[in-house]
Amino acid sequence: MFENIMLAFQGIWGHKMRSFLTMLGIIIGIAAIITIVSTIKGTNEQIKENLIGAGNNVVTVSLTQDGASGVIEYSPLPDGVKVIDEDTRKELEKLDGVEAVSLYRSRSWAEEVFYANTSFTGGVFGVDRNYLDVNDYSVNYGRGFLESDFTESKKVALVDANTASSLFEGKNPIGKTIEIKGEPFTVVGVVSKTNASAPVINSIEDYYMYANTSSGSIFIPDSCWPIVYRYDEPQTVAVKAVSTDKMTYAGNNVASSLNDTNVSNDTFKYEAYDLLKQAADLQSLSEATNTQLLWIAGISLLVGGIGVMNIMLVSVTERTREIGLKIAIGARQKRILWQFLTEAAVLTSLGGILGVMCGVGLAMLLSQVMGTAVAISVPACLIAVVFSMAIGIVFGLVPAVKAAKLNPIEALRRE
């Protein structure tokens, strides 16, 4: 086998130009596939990152009615659903896959929020003591929440950087008073995400997808929530999972635990908002278009394979005398067959390796020039090389069989 490979390299090296041109079909096909796969993977990871937030691993669990969320969000806690108290929260933190749990109530699009005459667009969140930690917020200016803010229901608020710039237009917001539904709150600090991964916006669709997260947020102690919104509204649970892969698992654990302990009404149910699933949905959308590209690249591989077959047939004809002699001095048919199969496989494998290198280079160039997200997949590269080797074996088969079946008498007579 090793001897065959050496022989194959000698043969390829002996016809550098021809070998390269033959490989070119494979190189182009593999390069195209690697580029496309890298782009798909890059887009997928970008979607996942944008939705989930790198390293944050927070999944939300919220109450749903008949499977739909939102309907009951802004109403009083329905019959048969208990408030999640501190003891329950601590129990939830002990569940498998869960690192930390925080409770909050929210208005995603809060109305009647003003600073002076400026109206605020964004969300208001009534949060517990753990919220900032769980969601990876850190205080940039001013201070965070104090224990007394919660116990004494102090009307203080934290704003995020978006709010700070949109509502206060660059002025220092600390100490300023904002009105939420007529109740005055004093801004005591500005917070921002510690591991902020700003969503990458490539298109208008992306913009709408992520518009939510780039509008402002105002945080107030959850004990103040009933003052503003009057009801004990259903709480949303922010669950920080131990790892990104455990997010769905941790979210489902928390939801089912809550359904057991806090819900006694069949129409209501806590459900984990499955970001991973949503990411997968979006990913399959982007993959569908790229799969068509993969087919086209596959056709170029087919053409490359036919080129290999053609050149191998020429090579067999050229080396008729050599083959004839080898058969005459006792080479078995199988050995001749393998010699040519190996040569074809080495040729296309070389093409595959060069193609992977070109593809990786092209993908990186694309990400530089066009700004598309690119992620190189090592398994994809390995598969590409193995696949190009397989192309060599498949398309080398006909020439190799032809060589092995040569009649030595006629082959030796050929000039």
């Binding site: 000698q10 002996g14 058969i327 005459a328 001095i329 006792g330 080479a331 078995r332 008498i409």
Partner: protein
């Protein structure tokens, strides 16, 4: 007895009719024989050589090489017979142009599954026997015709075959190197090799101890050389 052919016939279909190239050929070769088979072109001597060399199968008749019934061998068995029991020397050498002399000579041993070190050692010895120990790493295009043919002879003897089969071994050589090659065959014969040589040249055939003539597919019985002289 190394080789025994009985009533060997070889027919080739030519369109609707059949051409008989060999007609009831009987041939016996004993160990240590040095035989020349002579005949004009078209006499069937090449066909006979292909049959002796197990490159082709007779239409009818029996052929034993040693104890082996060649007519009942599979393709793989025939390959092994050619590899281990027959050494071929061709008119046009048939050396592989990209291999050096040593690798060309070692080639049959590769197919015999001999390990690399031993292959090289035995190939070196064979090149010694033909007097080319100083041309081991030369490629065929760096050797003269006579040297090429001696490399080819080294390749033929490297596997210690029962039978050396030479087809017009001097046909492509000038008279000086032709004579060298014929001396080499005589030397190998004296050392015990069994040689069959196919030629149309009486001066070459005379080197052999026994000459058989073939004409129109019929091989003469007995040794005409001795009868003639």
């Amino acid at each position: 007895m190394i080789l025994q052919m009985k009533d060997i016939c070889k027919d080739y279909p030519m369109g609707k009719s059949v051409t008989s190239v060999l007609k009831n050929v009987n041939l016996q070769v004993n160990e240590g024989d040095y035989m020349a088979i002579m005949g004009p072109s078209g006499s069937g001597k090449t066909t006979l050589m292909n049959l002796i060399g197990c490159l082709d199968m007779p239409t009818s008749g029996s052929y034993f090489l040693g104890d082996r019934d060649i007519t009942k061998c599979t393709a793989n068995q025939l390959a092994d017979v050619r590899n281990q029991e027959i050494g071929f020397v061709f008119q046009s050498f048939h050396l592989l142009p990209k291999l050096n002399a040593l690798d060309n000579v070692a080639l049959p041993l590769l197919y015999a599954g001999v390990k690399k070190e031993e292959r090289r050692e035995r190939a070196r010895q064979a090149l010694c026997t033909v007097g080319l120990e100083d041309r081991v790493s030369y490629r065929p295009d760096q050797l003269s015709g006579g040297q090429c043919q001696r490399v080819a002879i080294a390749r033929a003897i490297v596997a210690h075959p029962k039978l050396l089969l030479a087809d017009e071994p001097t046909g492509a050589l000038d008279s000086v190197s032709g004579a060298q090659v014929m001396d080499l065959f005589s030397k190998l014969h004296e050392e015990g090799a069994t040689v069959i040589m196919i030629t149309h040249d009486i001066n070459i055939a005379k080197h052999a101890k026994e000459i058989r003539y073939i004409r129109d597919g019929v091989l003469s019985e007995g040794d005409l050389n001795e009868q003639g002289s």
